[in-house]
């Protein structure tokens, strides 16, 4: 029963396999290196410790799920039923049968595009406002309490307001993303700017850096770890919000797909969509974390 899923897991591990010999070949050149086999084994071991436990757990959960939902009278579909009923959806993410009948890959891309725009604005404006608040005592005193109140408002509560303002679902969804993601970015940036060590300010003062130089040579790099914390929280919230917003505003995104599937009572479709959402959310988070890791290299160590 679980075979298909297990098979897809195996195919996922295949790309990793050719990668291992390639690295080993490069490292084998210096003579003092540990032998090829030992390195292979070590890499394999590391791979196994990282991948095996979640894999085993997943299989276990699927089995439990299968058992629970295969009983007569079960309200939710079992994994096997999902596989048979939503087969098209799972095997081909990029089919196009009509304007409303498209693969989940396309839908995710459409949602991602909205997130990209909303989140992009949130990042720009959030960092700019955060810098202002972190810099100026008066801006902080004036704006911080307001932001602290605004940030507790659920993203969906903004939706009617933005629908009324924009009179169109597309910009409304984007606005909801923006308004959801912007608060953690503002607040974390402000904290980062406020925490710039006096030492760095002194260095800048002795060197007579002007405002612009201070901004991009001291402020941004020094606050970067904080800014990226905000960006990472923001991307997570955006992804949470887009699904909810699309369920309400319609369109062709992944959120609307869930709404649509619910209306036609196709539960297996919904489960497949949930897996997509989860995986994409995870990838987005890791992506921002990876970018942060590259850019703030060295900064966080001090």
């Amino acid at each position: 029963m679980n075979m298909p899923l297990a098979k897809s897991d195996m195919s996922a591990s295949i790309p990793a396999a050719p990668a291992a010999p390639a690295t080993a070949k490069v490292l084998a050149l210096p003579s003092r290196q540990t032998p090829f086999n030992a390195r292979m084994l070590a890499a394999l071991g590391r791979f196994a410790t990282a991948v095996l436990p979640p894999l085993v757990m997943l299989l276990l959960l699927l089995t439990v799920w299968e058992i629970l939902c295969s009983r007569p009278g079960a309200t939710l579909p079992a994994p096997s039923k999902i596989w048979t009923e939503a087969h098209d959806l799972i095997v081909d993410p990029f089919f196009r049968n009509g304007p409303q009948d498209i693969g989940l890959g396309w839908r995710v891309l459409i949602s991602l595009q909205r997130v990209a725009i909303g989140y992009g604005f949130a990042a720009l404006i959030g960092i700019a406002l955060g810098t202002l608040i972190g810099q100026s005592v008066w801006a902080m005193r004036g704006l911080d309490p307001i932001f602290q109140v605004l940030r507790t408002i659920s993203p969906l509560a903004w939706l009617p307001i933005s629908l009324a303002a924009f009179r169109d679902s597309q910009p409304s969804a984007i606005f909801v993303i923006f308004i959801t993601a912007v608060w953690p970015i503002i607040i974390n940036t402000a904290v980062g700017i406020r925490n710039i060590p006096q030492d760095y300010r002194n260095v800048a003062a002795v060197l007579k850096l002007n405002h612009l130089e201070f901004f991009y040579k001291i402020m941004i790099p020094s606050a970067a770890p904080y800014i990226f914390t905000g960006l990472r929280i923001g991307i997570g919230l955006s992804w949470l919000a887009i699904v909810a917003a699309e369920m309400l505003t319609g369109g062709v995104g992944i959120g609307f797909f869930i709404c649509d599937a619910w209306n036609s009572l196709r539960l297996p479709y919904i489960v497949v969509a949930l897996v997509y959402i989860g995986v994409i959310g995870f990838v987005l988070d890791r992506l921002v974390a990876a970018i942060a890791g590259i850019i703030t290299r060295g900064t966080s160590v001090s």
């Binding site: 030492d199 760095y200 002194n202 260095v203 003062a205 002795v206 060197l207 007579k208 850096l209 130089e213 040579k217 001291i218 790099p221 020094s222 970067a224 703030t296 290299r297 060295g298 900064t299 160590v301 001090s302």
Partner: protein, 265 residues
């Protein structure tokens, strides 16, 4: 001869709420060009405050500082500071940290190639060229301090200000760095003002030692001139009569006449 650096009746009062304390009281002294002057005194007496006033990072409450005839009222690269905790920017490499200063100070005067050369030259002075592409977190404390010194020297300051530059280092690293600084002073003839807690360090490196009384209301207690000829050799000085006498004098000042009163702190 006109004094190169003049600290003129400097008072500093810190006010917090309704209480105000006068940390420095009527500090007046002069430093001639190429002189190496140390400030010594117990913790909290206001040495850093005084150095920051010279650097322009803090303003004096009354009185002022003249460098080469010009009054100090803001920080600038002509008064480069080496801070106690190195203050290198952790996201820049060793080279980039020095280069930032070079670009800022000589951005107009020197070509790109000249600035590169000048950066490397200053790293060479402190023997740090080998680590030019490392980040501060990847080099030792002593090396960081060397880079801090290179950065300050690269600005070609009129006065080099050192705030406990070797305070955080172990004894051996400290001694090596003291030798480096001594050699650089010999070679470049910088005017240096250094804060230290270490009597031997002060006597070894300085032309004059300015001893401060305990705060609040810290004043100059005594100024001692070191007569030993330069270049000085650490090992030879250990048995040098003048060195021992100076050392004795500073120790007496610090531990007898102005004993640090714990209760007052």
């Amino acid at each position: 001869m006109r004094p190169f650096c003049k600290i003129d009746h400097v008072d500093k009062v810190f006010t917090r709420g309704s209480t105000s304390t006068r940390v420095l009281k009527d500090i007046t002294f002069e430093v001639t060009k190429g002189e190496y002057v140390s400030l010594i005194g117990h913790s909290g007496c206001g040495k850093s405050t005084l150095l920051n006033i010279v650097a322009g990072l803090t303003n004096a409450t009354t009185g002022g500082v003249l460098i080469d005839g010009v009054e100090v009222n803001e920080p600038g690269p002509d008064r480069a500071v080496v801070f106690q905790n190195h203050s290198l920017l952790p996201w820049l490499t060793v080279y980039e940290n020095v280069r930032l200063a070079v670009d800022k100070v000589f951005g107009k005067g020197k070509s790109r190639a000249e600035r590169d050369e000048w950066t490397l030259h200053n790293l060479e002075l402190v023997q740090m060229t080998h680590a030019r592409d490392k980040r501060p977190s990847e080099v030792s404390g002593g090396m960081k301090q060397r880079v801090g010194i290179a950065r300050a020297l690269a600005m070609e300051p009129k006065v080099l200000l050192l705030d406990e530059p070797f305070g955080a280092l172990d004894a051996l690293t400290r001694a090596r760095l003291q030798d480096t600084v001594m050699a650089l002073h010999q070679k470049l003839g910088n005017t240096v003002m250094m804060i230290t807690h270490d009597v031997d360090e002060a006597v070894l490196l300085s032309d004059r030692i300015i001893m401060m009384t305990n705060g609040p209301d810290a004043e100059i207690g005594e100024i001692l001139t070191m007569p030993m000829a330069r270049p000085r050799k650490r090992l030879e000085l250990v048995s040098d009569a003048a060195f021992l006498a100076c050392r004795q004098r500073v120790l007496e000042f610090l531990y007898e006449r102005h004993r640090f009163v714990e209760a007052a702190a």
